[in-house]
């Protein structure tokens, strides 16, 4: 089920009404929300609900066993088994075809052609997200950061809760499970923030992302060799905006929907293209994944503990593996390589500075009613150096996006080559598209906390006012947006 559809609107109306009626009975409410989440997931393909249940069961049992065991070796072994099982499920659906393709090519090159067991595998929507949440839960239990949960209902609901199920944000067990224990509350700040984020997310996705995809990005990336520099440059800026609006739009709606049900999620994006360095970019882009990679990949690899060489290696490996996570294709590997190399180079350059490097800790959102925004970070340096940093960072990110979006490596290289050819004027450089890209990038420099402040201003609005805001807001979005409902880019990951 997609968020910007009438199906979802009807579904949410029913879930909202019934779940709040059940607020005094926590266990039945959880059962109801779990059923609603499985319905939401099964609406796409009901067969995969078994996979979701299987994954949840593995993590629940592993969590219980780890929690009960006092023997460190046994706990480690159990954690290893749970992680391997989770990754095996993910690997089978995501990489089986890719590895078989590569194997077939290798055998063909060596003159040893064989009939390989190719399968028509459909990638279940959101498999990476619920797998990551499962790994996060068992790892946190192993590290004794949280207690193993007795009730399977809590673990099943944590992994399958529908607002974040198919495209994140990746919610931490330590954040969500305690919320299941408390009676849900709906205060004015959650209501106004929820409605505002839903409208903002719909606008980002249905208007900006869909227009840029349909009128520019898809056409240019379909065959980059047909276009010259101006179109290619505009298309890559447009893709940077499209993927941001698509993904952060989904996150906004997810956070808003969860807020209306009485649950708080952390922010997943924080004006990423205003980052002055790549490290800052990763503190602002897909924050839940960055933190996940930091805590469950970078740190277990050794993090920054083993000297400079090992730190660079870990940084590099984390980004390359992050690239492979996005999909089994060389383009994603190169995307990871660009980020890994650039991050390592940036760290090296910064290490020569006399001033201490800011702590690498990620910005962590608070959990107070008005503190869902990541804390402000001081951007050091003068205006010129900050501007330079923003421009360089943005263009490195854009270069990586070319490989991320291109159909294959050949197309990506042709795209990069074409960027040098400015002999022809642009075909797509219409005011509509240029201004849309410019305004969307410019919006990154609006004051931080504007959403929170606007939500605060809406707290006093009554039900009629909220109804008008929501109704006419969605009406305007529907009228302005192009026809049709496009799936979110991150559904495929």
């Amino acid at each position: 089920m997609l968020f910007p559809t009438l199906d979802f609107a009807l579904f949410f109306l029913v879930v909202f009404g019934i779940s709040w009626e059940m607020r005094h009975r926590p266990e039945p409410r959880k059962v109801f929300l779990l059923g609603a989440s499985y319905f939401f997931y099964g609406y796409w393909d009901w067969r995969f609900t078994a996979l979701l249940a299987g994954s949840s069961l593995i993590n629940y049992v592993a969590g219980r066993l780890i929690g009960m065991s006092a023997n460190e070796r046994e706990r480690k072994l159990l954690l290893g088994v749970a992680v391997v099982l989770n990754l095996a499920i993910l690997g089978f659906f995501k990489y089986y075809g890719f590895f078989l393709d590569q194997l077939a090519e290798m055998l063909q090159t060596a003159g040893l052609e064989r009939d390989l067991p190719f399968l028509e595998i459909i990638l279940p929507v959101g498999i990476s997200f619920f797998t990551f949440q499962g790994i996060s839960y068992v790892s946190d239990v192993y590290r004794r950061q949280i207690e193993a949960v007795d009730s399977p209902l809590d673990v099943f609901l944590y992994i399958s809760f529908f607002p974040q199920l198919v495209a994140g944000p990746i919610v931490r067990a330590a954040d969500f499970l305690p919320q299941l224990k408390a009676e849900p509350r709906l205060n004015r700040s959650l209501v106004s923030l929820g409605i505002l984020l839903i409208l903002l997310g719909l606008f980002k996705k249905m208007v900006i992302a869909n227009y840029l995809a349909g009128e520019l990005v898809d056409q240019v990336f379909f065959d980059p060799s047909m276009y010259a520099g101006p179109d290619l440059a505009l298309a890559i800026y447009a893709y940077a905006v499209q993927i941001y609006c698509d993904f952060s739009g989904y996150s906004d709606i997810a956070i808003g929907v969860a807020a209306l049900l009485g649950y708080r999620f952390r922010w997943n994006f924080n004006q990423p293209y205003r980052a002055v360095s790549l490290r800052e970019f990763w503190r602002r882009w897909h924050i839940s994944l960055s933190q996940w990679l930091r805590d469950y990949l970078y740190k277990p690899l050794g993090g920054g503990r083993g000297g400079s060489f090992l730190t660079y290696r870990n940084l590099f490996l984390t980004m390359v593996l992050g690239g492979i996570w996005h999909g089994a294709a060389w383009t994603f590997v190169i995307w990871g390589l660009i980020h890994g190399t650039s991050l390592a180079a940036e760290r090296l350059v910064l290490s020569f500075r006399t001033a201490p490097i800011p702590a690498p800790a990620m910005a962590v959102a608070g959990y107070g009613s008005g503190a869902m925004m990541p804390p402000e970070r001081s951007e050091r340096g003068g205006f010129m150096s900050r501007t330079f940093g923003v421009l360089v960072t943005f263009h490195i990110v854009c270069l990586a996006w070319i490989f991320f979006r291109a159909e294959n490596l050949e197309f990506a290289l042709s795209y990069v080559q074409g960027l040098a050819n400015w002999s022809q004027p642009g075909q797509f450089t219409s005011p509509f598209l240029v201004l849309m890209v410019a305004a969307s990038l410019g919006a990154h420099f609006l004051p931080r906390g504007l959403v929170i402040r606007t939500a605060k201003a809406l707290e006093g609005v009554g039900s009629i006012g909220l109804g008008f805001l929501l109704g006419f807001g969605i009406l305007l979005i529907q009228s302005v947006a192009p026809e049709g409902v496009a799936p979110f880019i991150y559904f495929q990951f």
Partner: protein
């Protein structure tokens, strides 16, 4: 005396807070009465807002309802729903409330098709022939823009393609 009373009251309040904190950590938290009322009020507030928003959309964008019900043609009650939505849509058209959406779509179409030459911002385009014109004008709207190559016809935005070739099958499968 009053100081002792105040101190005692303060102590009792602190004890209550500690008790509530302990209770919260034990498991399910029972909410204070005012929080329960607040939640009930806000629940009602949002529910009414959702219903009102649905009403606004059904009134001003009744065409979307027809599109939606047509997708339910294979449903046992599909034909009745289609008939009802069409009747509703006709009624809204008669009352001319659907013109709002048509008007916005028309305006957006104009903006989409606009070219740089169209953006005059109310300025005189004959700058080249008018030496008296302020020097800033040509910068905003050049008198003679280089001829633009033939643009392809605007294509209706289609379903976003996946970023990589590998996952396409899964995206195509989406409803």
């Amino acid at each position: 005396m009053s100081f002792a009373l105040e101190f005692r009251k303060k102590l009792q309040a602190q004890e209550r807070e500690v008790l509530a904190f302990k209770k919260a950590n034990e498991g399910f938290v029972s909410m204070p009465a005012e929080a329960t009322t607040d939640t009930s009020n806000n629940r009602r507030r949002v529910f009414l807002a959702l219903i009102l928003a649905g009403g606004i959309l059904a009134t001003f964008n009744s065409g979307a309802l027809v599109n939606y019900t047509q997708g339910l043609a294979n449903n046992p009650v599909g034909p009745e729903l289609i008939l009802a939505s069409e009747k509703w849509h006709e009624m809204m058209q008669e009352k001319q409330v659907t013109r709002v959406v048509d008007h916005i779509r028309g305006s957006v179409a104009l903006v989409r098709e606009a070219r740089w030459q169209d953006l005059t911002f109310g300025l005189d385009l004959t700058t080249a022939e008018n030496p008296e014109a302020p020097r800033t004008q040509p910068k905003v709207v050049p008198a003679k823009l280089p001829e633009e190559p033939e643009r392809p016809q605007p294509v209706e935005p289609r379903i976003a393609k996946p970023a990589g070739p590998v996952m396409r099958a899964s995206v195509d499968k989406l409803p």
